[in-house]
């Protein structure tokens, strides 16, 4: 497995295969301008990657583009992007430079990742989403096996929850000398406490209170077919690298006890469970014979039905399904309109009245059949 880590002046290069350079000019979490990285860029022999992961409206794109065009791009072995515009730009203007694509936000199916693989013949790596479970990752990797693209996953590091270009903290706090504001946040509306929130020149970022930690699953990750692992934690990277190389449980324990952590969705992702429940609530109207909706239900008096589709007929059996899912079956004995005129049948678009049916409330649906 290849280990990928962020550059910092105190980094120990031993065991690291790929170093990410995150200059403030192009990287959302960069803390050092490109100029200050030059000595390291000239001396480090490991693979060097320029991180250009900000999202950019056109004005910001122009600024980033001017920066890319100004620097000696040959200092880098590859460029890592998240904005598809950056990918397209590099393909057009620097067609020979290997590109890595950060697909951590979205790209949750094999088809979209395959489309990325095919989007640029210099695409050398895709960084996969942490929202994909190991089962899904495994299925996806099998499909993508035919591409020569490598895949990377973050095995330790902060979990980015939110990214906006707006400056959300500066109304309340002062920037430090480097132009950063870092605060912690909590809300009574969520049980989670200690969100780390950072504002810098590229916007405001919120992180999960706990680190994302997949060091327990290195063998599974390798088996899935992900060959590159990212150690994104600046202060714990050394312990993490030691653990990756020695697999000494004591190293892992040190990491685990030094900060709270989660494994996220690696084992299973059920974050659409509630979503399915919400959807199912409304499947009622799907059946045949839909007539309309009860607009008003007046006890001992009437049901007013807005006829949206099929009409109602005297003598016809109907089925009414309440919002709670209870069913009532009745036969229409009386049918009348707003003026009180007796009707034999009602037409689409009209408001029709039938006798009150106990237990039927507003927003119940009416069907012109007795099925199912």
């Amino acid at each position: 497995m290849k280990i990928v880590a962020n550059y910092s002046p105190s980094i120990e290069l031993k065991h690291l295969d790929e170093i990410l350079f995150c200059p403030t000019q192009t990287s959302r979490h960069g803390v050092m301008p490109f100029e200050d990285m030059l000595p390291a860029l000239n001396s480090i022999k490991a693979k060097k990657v320029l991180v250009w992961d900000i999202l950019m409206v056109q004005k910001d794109f122009d600024t980033a583009k001017a920066f890319i065009e100004k620097i000696d791009i040959q200092l880098f072995d590859a460029i890592r992007v998240q904005d598809l515009g950056a990918l397209e730009y590099l393909k057009v203007h620097f067609p020979h430079i290997p590109v890595q694509f950060n697909a951590e936000t979205g790209y949750h199916n094999a088809k979209s990742l395959a489309a990325l693989c095919e989007s640029h013949d210099k695409l050398e790596k895709i960084i996969v989403s942490l929202e994909l479970s190991k089962t899904k990752l495994s299925e996806i990797m099998q499909v993508l096996d035919k591409y020569s693209v490598r895949f990377e996953i973050m095995v330790i590091g902060p979990l980015l929850l939110f990214y906006t270009p707006r400056s959300l903290l500066s109304p309340h706090f002062n920037k430090n000398a480097d132009g950063f504001i870092t605060v912690t946040g909590k809300s009574e509306e969520t049980p989670h406490k200690g969100f780390r929130i950072i504002e810098n020149q590229h916007g405001t970022f919120m992180f999960h209170p706990k680190d994302h930690l997949l060091l327990d699953y290195l063998d599974e990750i390798e088996k899935i077919g992900i060959k590159d692992i990212r150690v994104d934690s600046n202060d714990l990277y050394k312990n993490a690298v030691d653990y990756i190389n020695n697999r000494d449980p004591k190293d892992l324990e040190k990491i685990k006890t030094s900060r709270p952590h989660i494994k996220g969705y690696f084992n299973v992702n059920k974050s659409d469970a509630l979503f399915s429940k919400l959807k199912n609530k409304h499947f009622l109207k799907k059946e045949d014979g839909f007539v309309g909706e009860v607009l008003s239900s007046q006890k001992e008096s009437y049901l007013a039905i807005k006829i949206l589709k099929d009409g109602l007929k005297i003598g016809a059996p109907i089925r009414i399904v309440t919002p709670e899912g209870k069913e009532k079956r009745v036969t229409i004995k009386k049918l009348w309109n707003s003026r009180g005129d007796k009707l034999q049948s009602s037409t689409k678009g009209s408001l029709a009245f039938i006798d009150f049916v106990k237990g039927v409330s507003k927003r119940s649906f009416v069907y012109n059949n007795q099925r199912p």
Partner: protein, 393 residues
């Protein structure tokens, strides 16, 4: 070219309301896992068929949202649904996932609009999507009108931009707060609106309590001419989850304004003031032009919890009209005999009336209404079924 007005249709009732109030196109979601508004009622296949029928009769386009971040199991189900959408001749699908774009392009000929969820922000990104067969791009809300104009000129793509409504504070598709704090996938319809929460922020002992990540609502009315000059094809109103009063009022105001632009006339300050008065009558947060002219500043943050300001409440919808005799109102909120209420006709100014008398459907006279019931009030000309009835809050 005057841009089309694209209105939200959370369900069939709201669709009828926005079509009646002047939308040129609607966007809506099916009852499936393909869209982003899980809590919105959405459309069964039958209702979708009905929706297309209603809309096409009135020359209104129907765009179906398939803009969640698809997982493989949803991708597998998609072709069947595309067959259905093709058969009922929807006008386009709104998509955010690259894999879904590829699938649709190779599977059928329904035009593809790229969802704002993809955060397409610059012209190289637009070029990327154009090369994938996308016909229209809904630009990210962070893009200014000047930038949109550049993208339009460089790509000749149809562009759609938001013009009014609630705004996601994050770059769309780049917020997973709900995923990790509520177990709900915000990119598959489960957003818990954590950005609207009040947070206590702390730095070195300094504590601040604020809804610091809540955005004011977008308000593009004053900039309609600029949208037009930028070559924007479609102006989108946010709000599939909102009620009919909201959807109807916003649609009516923007439809009237666009009509004036279409006639080559100026949007005078007087007219804008009148429309702004109308817009204040629906539930909304404070308004902002966000990034339409310059990058959204501190001014665009809404420093209040969810409480929305509104001047009017919707008290009912017209359920039936018996010409020269009476109107039937489906009561949503209590009102009394003698109250001053307003009707919002589909065209032209609102009509005010003081209710002289009211009757139940059996002609019993009443002094007040009960929500959920129906009442008859004397006939007023030019009022139609589904007209909104409102009262000062």
């Amino acid at each position: 070219m005057t841009p089309e007005l694209l209105a939200p249709a959370g369900n069939l009732e709201k669709l009828k309301v926005v079509v009646s109030y002047g939308a040129n196109a609607v966007y809506l979601g099916g009852k499936n896992q393909f869209g982003l508004r899980a809590a919105s009622e959405n459309f069964t296949e039958e209702e979708l068929l009905e929706a297309v029928h209603i809309c096409h009769q009135k020359n209104v386009k129907v765009y179906v949202v398939l803009n969640s971040f698809f997982h493989d199991k949803e991708i597998q189900k998609l072709p069947l649904y595309l067959d259905f959408l093709s058969s009922i001749e929807v006008d386009a699908v709104i998509v955010s996932d690259l894999g879904v774009v590829e699938l649709i392009r190779s599977y059928c000929s329904i035009p593809i609009h790229l969802s704002t969820q993809s955060s397409c922000l610059n012209l190289y990104s637009a070029q990327f999507w154009k090369s994938r067969g996308v016909e229209r791009i809904v630009l990210g809300r962070e893009v200014s009108l000047d930038e949109a104009k550049r993208i339009r000129e460089a790509t000749n793509l149809e562009l759609e931009m938001f013009v009014h409504g609630s705004m996601c504070m994050a770059y769309s598709g780049n917020c997973v707060i709900s995923n990790y704090t509520s177990g709900r996938d915000s990119n598959r319809g489960g957003c818990a609106h954590s950005c609207r929460f009040e947070y206590e922020l702390e730095d070195n002992g300094k504590k601040v309590t604020d809804t610091f990540m809540s955005s004011k609502d977008l308000f593009g009315l004053r900039l309609l001419k600029d949208y037009q000059k930028a070559g924007i094809s479609s102006l989108k109103i946010e709000g599939r989850m909102k009620g009919p009063l909201y959807a109807g009022t916003i649609t009516k105001v923007y439809a009237e304004a666009l009509k004036i632009l279409d006639q080559g006339k100026e949007l005078t300050q007087d007219l804008i003031n009148q429309w702004e008065d109308e817009l204040k009558k629906v539930s909304h947060r404070d308004y902002t032009e966000a990034s339409l002219l310059n990058k959204a500043s501190e001014e665009s943050i809404y420093h209040q919890r969810e409480e929305s300001s509104r001047e009017f409440d919707v008290v009912g919808l017209v359920a039936d009209v018996v010409e020269d005799e009476f109107l039937v109102i489906e009561v949503r909120k209590k009102f009394n005999k003698g109250d001053r209420i307003e009707f919002l006709p589909f065209r032209g100014p609102h009509q005010e009336t003081i209710i002289p008398n009211m009757y139940l459907m059996d002609d019993t006279e009443v002094d007040f209404t009960n929500p959920g019931g129906l009442v008859k009030i004397p006939y007023i000309p030019n009022i139609g079924i589904n007209n909104i009835v409102r009262k000062r809050a």
